[in-house]
Each structure stands twice: as structure tokens, then as C-alpha cells.
């Protein structure tokens, strides 16, 4: 092990090679704090060459490595491997270029999500994927976990916006996948690399698709007396052929949490809130808004408001985007789930989650991307109460099983990571998983790139 540290010392990192106990402790977990592991060294890389050199050292020594950006993974995706090397990419944070004519940006992996949009704004463009953590999470992590956000309904996930990547493979070799065009000739290697959770290597540069800033954005907030009524409204909007960019629902407990923390000023006494966002050119938004308002009125909304004012819109979204951290006001601990169900089975899923919550005596707050069936049950518990953690975890597992039984997925946007790897076999058949392992073994025969994430270690 000390040989690896010595070899890393030969790369010329200077004080960017961290081996002290305090530094290693600081990197011992990500946003999924239930898991902690200690790396033997942290490499704070500033260049592609340094990433490559560090990976080569690890490969030569047979030591596992994990790449990390801001450490916002909710699935433990950037958790270090005990005794392995952590490669921190935050300092590779340059937007290398923005090309307005081709509507692309080329960025380093440590660039913060929102900084891509900041760089694109002067050109009338923006980067669409918007995970709730977008003010701190990095593009490298977004790509590794194919992050989503509230606007996936129309715009898709991260991988839909990544046109090409330059990657360091697990043995240190560089490969260029994709390119600047919206279309890729031949197999979509870039698409396979996105969402591979670090198991295929490290992205060191990415070409991103930018979109024109919409000239009109109209956010509606509708209040319902029941979660079912809000869910029905979503179904009606979809059936009417409207294409909002976002369709979000919060339940009473989530609303309570949001009000207790960031005080977005949601109408008091609401049992369910529906957020609908339309965006696009002026005439289109106006035409769609008229139809949407008629639908919301007919859907039994107790009241609703619609606004294009930037500050008012920001306030509506503030409550929604802060919901995860806000539940900290309701309980000392919580688990965030990320299951997906077919959107027509949302109502069924929510009723069942409510029943399971009652049965287990564990409270669950629901905020979810209703438009694409992506649930985010927030399971509230107090780890100081004996048995609560176990009951909360059991409930979480039951919710994931429910999602699979309804024909959905265990994760819509947070990734499998270390947190949900035991559940992957419930979703895919042994042959499917064997093929995934073959792909992993083919690209990384030594199994050194982020081992233990997505695919559980095989039983000996």
C-alpha cells in the first residue's frame, strides 16, 4: 500500500497528494452518509495527465480507485474504497469553450452544473439537466450517474445532453467517444459510458448540448385536497397532449417541511401541491397556458396561481428543491428513495406507500416528478430510537420492491451506487446481470474502477 503512495508521490502533485488522517476523514463519505470508507490517499488532480498517471499507478499496483467531484451522490456513488485511492476532480473546473453556433460547451469534469449555464447565458443558451444539487454537483458526477432533475419530462436526463466524452479507461488509456454533433455515427459509446457509475473509468472532458433559453416560462401552482386529485390532474394533462417541461407533486408532509425550512409561502392547509411548468416561445406558452388553466380548473384544484415572474417562480421551486434537506426539520434522520413507476400507476403506488408507512409506523413524505413517475419518498426516522433505522430500511426496500412489481425501476436519477446494489437483481434477470458483468470485466479486467458500486461483489 505504501508503495502506491510512494508511486503517486512520483507524479509531481506536491501538496495535492493528501495522505493525512484529517484529509482522508473528510473524504470518507459522500451525501449518502450511512456509508463510510477510508482511502489511503487522495489525489487532487488538475490535469488529464495527472488523472491518467494516478490511474496508471493504481492499475500497476492493483489498487482500486474512485473518482469524486463534490460528493453529492445520494446513492454512495463516490464513496471511497477502503485502502484505495480517491481521485478528486473539483479543480478540473474550467469551461473550456462555449460555441454558440453549434450550441455546445466543452467542459472539464469538475465544472459545477450551474456554471455551465452561467457560461452559456451570454449566448442565450443554457444547460438543461437540473438536479436539485445543481449549485454544487459537478458534471463528471452527473455523467457517471446519469443525473436527472425536475425538467426531465421534456428534456430528458444527463445522457441526453452529453454528446461526447474523453475518458481515462481503468488502465490509464485515453479514449474519445462521440463528438460535437447531435447525432453519433456507429454505436453510441457515449450513451453507454453515461450512467456507468465510474465502472468504466473517468470522464476527463465532456461535450455538452446547450439549448436556447426559452423566451417564456410559466409556472403554475395548484392546491388539492387529496394526493389522488393532484395525480388525476397529471393524467389529464398528459392525455390532453400538453407537454410541460415539469410536473411535480408534493404531499402534505413535504409541504410542511418546506414551509418549516425555506418558507416558500405555499397556500396553507394544502394536502397536495402540483407544480406545472410550461416553457417555450411566447405564442406557444400562451396557447398551452389557456388549455392548462381550463384543465386545472376542471380538475378540482382548490385554488391555483400561475406566474411568469422570476422571483415568484424561484420561490415555488425553492420549496420543491429544498424538500430533501427540509425534512430534516421533521425528523433527525431520513432516507431518500428514487424509485420509478409507470406514470399511470402513480396513484396505486402512493396508496400502497401510505399503507406501508402506516403499518410500519414510519412516516414518509412524498415529493415526486409526477410527469415521469419518478418517486422520491422521504423515509423519516430517528436513529436514536432502537429499531427505527432497521424499520426505515425495511420500508425503503419494500418501496423499491413495489416499484419493480409495478413495472418500474429502483432508480430514476440517483443511480444504484452502493445503496441499492442488492436490489438490482430484483430488476434484471441473471443473464442481464451477467452481461453487465461481462461488460465491466471487458472494460476493466482488474476490477479497479469504483468497485462495489452498481454491481455487488459476487459471492465467493
Amino acid at each position: 500500500m505504501n508503495d502506491v503512495v510512494a508511486a503517486l508521490g512520483g507524479i509531481g502533485l506536491g501538496d495535492r497528494l493528501l495522505t493525512g488522517p484529517a484529509a482522508l476523514a473528510a473524504f470518507s463519505s459522500d451525501a449518502q452518509t450511512a456509508f463510510q470508507q477510508r482511502a489511503i490517499a487522495v489525489v487532487v488532480a488538475e490535469t488529464v495527465g495527472e488523472v491518467q498517471a494516478a490511474v496508471r499507478v493504481c492499475h500497476a499496483a492493483g489498487v482500486p480507485f474512485v473518482a469524486r467531484g463534490s460528493g453529492t451522490s445520494l446513492s454512495g456513488g463516490s464513496l471511497p474504497v477502503e485502502g484505495g485511492v480517491l481521485i478528486a476532480l473539483n479543480r478540473m473546473n474550467r469551461v473550456l469553450r462555449v460555441d454558440a453556433d453549434t450550441r455546445t460547451a466543452v467542459v472539464e469534469p469538475g465544472v459545477i452544473n450551474l456554471d455551465v449555464t452561467r457560461a452559456a447565458t451570454p449566448h442565450g443558451l443554457y444547460y438543461a439537466p437540473d438536479p436539485s444539487s445543481q449549485s454544487i454537483c459537478t458534471i463528471g458526477g452527473n455523467i457517471a450517474f446519469n443525473s436527472g432533475g425536475a425538467h426531465c419530462l421534456l428534456h430528458g436526463m444527463t445522457s441526453n445532453h452529453v454528446l461526447g466524452v474523453r475518458v481515462v479507461l481503468p488502465d490509464g488509456e485515453l479514449a474519445e467517444l462521440g463528438g460535437p454533433s447531435a447525432e453519433t455515427p456507429g454505436p453510441d459509446w457515449t450513451g453507454l459510458f453515461c450512467g456507468s457509475e465510474g465502472l468504466f473509468g473517468i470522464v476527463v472532458e465532456a461535450t455538452l448540448r446547450l439549448m436556447p433559453v426559452p423566451e417564456a416560462v410559466r409556472t403554475s401552482l395548484a392546491v388539492y385536497d387529496s394526493l389522488e386529485a393532484a395525480g388525476d390532474a397529471v393524467a389529464q394533462i398528459v392525455r390532453a397532449g400538453l407537454l410541460p417541461v415539469a410536473l411535480e407533486i408534493m404531499d402534505a408532509l413535504a409541504i410542511e417541511a418546506a414551509e418549516a425550512s425555506v418558507k416558500p409561502g405555499y397556500p396553507p392547509g394544502a394536502t397536495a401541491l402540483l407544480i406545472v411548468e410550461l416553457e417555450g416561445e411566447r405564442d406557444v406558452v400562451d396557447a398551452d397556458a389557456a388549455r392548462l388553466d381550463a384543465l386545472l380548473t376542471a380538475s378540482g384544484a382548490r385554488e391555483f396561481l400561475a406566474t411568469e415572474d422570476l422571483d415568484e417562480r424561484a420561490l415555488i421551486w425553492k420549496g420543491r428543491k429544498a424538500a430533501f434537506s427540509a425534512v430534516g426539520w421533521l425528523a433527525p434522520d431520513y432516507i431518500v428513495q428514487d424509485g420509478v413507476v409507470p406514470r399511470t400507476r402513480l396513484g396505486e403506488a402512493l396508496v400502497e406507500i401510505g399503507r406501508m408507512s402506516e403499518e410500519s409506523g414510519i412516516r414518509v413524505a412524498n415529493v415526486f416528478h409526477a410527469g415521469d413517475g419518478n418517486l422520491h419518498p422521504l423515509i423519516l426516522f430517528d436513529s436514536a430510537v432502537p429499531g427505527e433505522l432497521e424499520r426505515a430500511e425495511r420500508l425503503g426496500g419494500d418501496i423499491l420492491r413495489l416499484c419493480i412489481a409495478l413495472g418500474g425501476s429502483i432508480t430514476g436519477e440517483h443511480g444504484v451506487g452502493i445503496e441499492k446494489r442488492e436490489y438490482l437483481p430484483l430488476m434484471y434477470a441473471p443473464d442481464d446481470l451477467a452481461a453487465m458483468r461481462r461488460l465491466r470485466d471487458g472494460v476493466d479486467p482488474a476490477g479497479l474502477a469504483n468497485p462495489g458500486k452498481m454491481l455487488a461483489p459476487e459471492a465467493a
Partner: protein, 367 residues
């Protein structure tokens, strides 16, 4: 000899019992994909593997067997006012969903919401080991496991035999209209395309067709609420200096259908699609013009369709593209399916090796 498969089990059997490369074929509308450079490849006819297996309009998703004709899927969707936003070409000619995914080539309509890769959500395939494997799922948002659906886009039947596909779909625009602009010179056309692509009017299609005198005619289609269409058309026209004509409804339908059926290409020509960005177009365009190859820009100058004259060797096109760092997907002619530069390097080679360790597909064509 052609093998025939009517089920995933048949495909498995064919893969396991055949020595040497096997190549899936269904609609045969893109013969460059279903022909191997190595002429010894055995065709595997999967056209009997057809039919929609699940479609709930309220879900905005559907699943069908890979040999299902695009036309059949489109008709089922149209009954509920929905469509395949990636607008697969050659639908009338008999293209299948599997072929559309294997080619990875979208139609002009993909400009609005994205290409094949943006709408495929699930896949079942038989890989080179004879395993029937599933990737993705039937829900629109899914981050579990490796994204095999995307890998199959553009795989040209060289990484596995597709048996079933799931897509997300969108509501069809309730009305459409198309403006045809007076031809411009190449540079002016490029600048105009760049301006239009940056909004604010959201276009369903943005193509540029060549005219006999070497100029370029911009064709822009908008779709959406019928009430807003007239005002939007006027607004769209205001962003282009050239005069325009608004096509009559039947004329615009025919225009986009003929474009998607590749009827603009001379019979016998090698038709290929070259993903590009605008800065690469002038040099590519000059080369193609010098060889009297018709070039049609599409997707807002993100791809160029080329009809390479039958009498010229495909290798000449491939060499030129390689020199420009570009790659073409050939749909017809010989020497395909890829011409020009290769991408993916060691990553591509390792993935191919993992899915097809014994070389049962014509994967060498991709390298």
C-alpha cells in the same frame, strides 16, 4: 442461405449454431447495414419478429418486437395523437423499428425533440454468446444498470440481434406548417441556420436542400397549437432575409415524406448520413460538390445527407471523411456501414469483445 427467426429463441438458436458472422435483416431498406464487408456473413431474417407488445397511450411509451415496421407503429400511435419524435427515415419503404435503432439515423423531424438515442428506453437483444439480455426498461426515467438501449443505437447489427424495443413517445403537434425560403449562398445559409437554431421560434425541422445552381434552400417546419401557427410563421420568416413561400398543407406533407423516403437521392447512389457541426460543413461541402454528390443538410446542420454517385468508389468518400475527422453511416451501397473515421478506441474494442467474444457478428466492420 438466409436463416429465419420468428422468436427470440429462434434468434438464440441461430446465433449459437452459426459459424462466422451473422447479420440481422428485416425491412432491408438500408442494405449497407444488412450486408457485411466480409461477404461470407449469413443473413438472419427477423422480419417475422413483429408486433406491438404493449402500448398504453396514457403512459406515452410503447414496446414492440424489433421487426415491427415503423409504419405499423406510427399508425398505432397516430390513433392516439402520438408519434415517434425521432422521425425514422424510410418508413414507407418498409423500415422496421430494429433497423431504425441499428442505423442510429433520425429523420428531419428529430430536430425538435431529439434523435433515436433520446427516445429509446428499453431493449432486448441476443448477444454474441447467445444470451437473451434486457437493458433499460419500460419507464421513461431509469438510471439502473448500464445503458444498453443507447449502446444499441447505431450498432448496425454488429453488437447483437435486437428482438424487442421500448420507446418513449410524445403527443403529435396538432398542426404543422413549412416555410420554404429563396435559395441563399452557402455561407449565408449556414449563418441563417445557426440563427434559427438558437430560437426563439421552436422548429420541428430545419433542413437545407441543394439547388441546381449550387445555392441552398432553407426549409423550416413548425408545429403546435393551430391557433398560434400563423403568428409563429410570420415571426419565423422575420428572422430570415430571403423571401419565403408558405407551403400548402398537402405540399408540406409530401415534402417531408419524400425527404424521409430519401427520394431526393439519385437512384443507385450510395446514400449516407454524416453527423457534423456547422464549422465542418464548408470543407465537406466543397469536396462533395467537386464529386457531384448531392448534399442535404439536416437537423439544423448537425448532419449531412449525401448521395454519392454510383460510378465513384465509396472508398474515395471514406478516405476524404477520415481526413476531415468525420464518419458517415452508409444506408445503401457497399463498403459500409461506416465510412471514414472510427470512434470509441479501446473502449469500443473492449465492449465489442465483451458482447461478442467469438466474433459471431460482423463487428470488425466497426473497427
Amino acid at each position: 442461405m438466409t436463416l429465419v427467426a420468428a422468436s427470440a429463441a429462434d434468434v438464440r438458436e441461430a446465433v449459437l449454431s452459426t459459424d462466422g458472422p451473422l447479420l440481422p435483416v428485416a425491412g432491408a431498406t438500408k442494405p449497407a447495414l444488412s450486408t457485411a464487408q466480409d461477404t461470407a456473413a449469413t443473413p438472419l431474417d427477423v422480419s417475422a419478429l413483429r408486433g406491438i407488445t404493449s402500448y398504453d397511450p396514457a403512459e406515452l411509451t410503447f414496446t414492440a418486437r424489433a421487426g415491427t415496421p415503423v409504419r405499423e407503429a406510427a399508425a398505432a400511435l397516430a390513433e392516439h395523437g402520438q408519434y415517434l419524435p425521432f422521425d425514422p427515415p424510410l418508413a414507407d419503404a418498409g423500415a422496421t423499428l430494429g433497423g431504425a435503432v441499428a442505423a442510429g439515423v433520425s429523420g428531419s423531424g428529430a430536430f425538435r425533440h431529439g434523435g433515436v438515442r433520446d427516445f429509446i428506453i428499453g431493449v432486448r437483444l441476443v448477444d454474441g454468446t447467445g444470451s437473451l439480455i434486457a437493458g433499460g426498461g419500460q419507464v421513461v426515467k431509469n438510471a439502473a444498470g448500464f445503458d444498453l438501449p443507447k449502446l444499441m443505437v447505431g450498432s448496425a447489427g454488429r453488437l447483437g440481434v435486437l428482438t424487442e424495443l421500448s420507446f418513449k413517445v410524445f403527443p403529435h403537434p396538432r398542426a404543422t406548417t413549412t416555410l420554404s425560403f429563396e435559395p441563399l449562398g452557402r455561407d449565408a445559409a449556414l449563418a441563417t441556420v445557426a440563427r434559427l437554431a438558437r430560437g426563439p421560434v421552436a422548429l420541428d425541422a430545419l433542413d437545407v436542400e441543394p439547388t441546381p445552381d449550387g445555392s441552398r434552400r432553407i426549409l423550416a417546419r413548425i408545429g403546435g397549437d393551430p391557433a398560434a401557427l400563423d403568428a409563429r410563421a410570420v415571426r419565423l420568416a422575420s428572422y430570415v432575409e430571403a423571401p419565403h413561400e408558405r407551403l400548402a398543407p398537402d405540399e408540406e406533407t409530401a415534402l417531408w415524406r419524400d425527404t424521409g423516403e430519401l427520394r431526393w437521392a439519385a437512384p443507385g447512389a450510395l446514400v449516407a448520413r454524416i453527423p457534423v457541426t456547422a464549422p465542418a460543413i464548408p470543407m465537406l461541402d466543397a469536396f462533395l460538390a467537386a464529386h457531384r454528390a448531392a448534399a442535404r443538410w439536416t437537423l439544423g446542420a448537425n448532419a449531412v445527407w449525401v448521395a454519392w454517385p454510383a460510378e465513384l468508389p465509396p472508398r474515395e468518400l471514406g478516405d476524404a471523411l477520415a481526413g476531415l475527422g468525420l464518419t458517415a453511416v452508409a444506408l445503401t451501397g457497399t463498403g459500409g456501414p461506416l465510412l471514414g473515421a472510427r470512434r470509441g478506441g479501446a473502449f469500443a474494442a473492449r465492449v465489442r469483445g465483451a458482447l461478442d467474444p467469438d466474433g459471431r457478428f460482423a463487428g470488425a466492420d466497426l473497427a
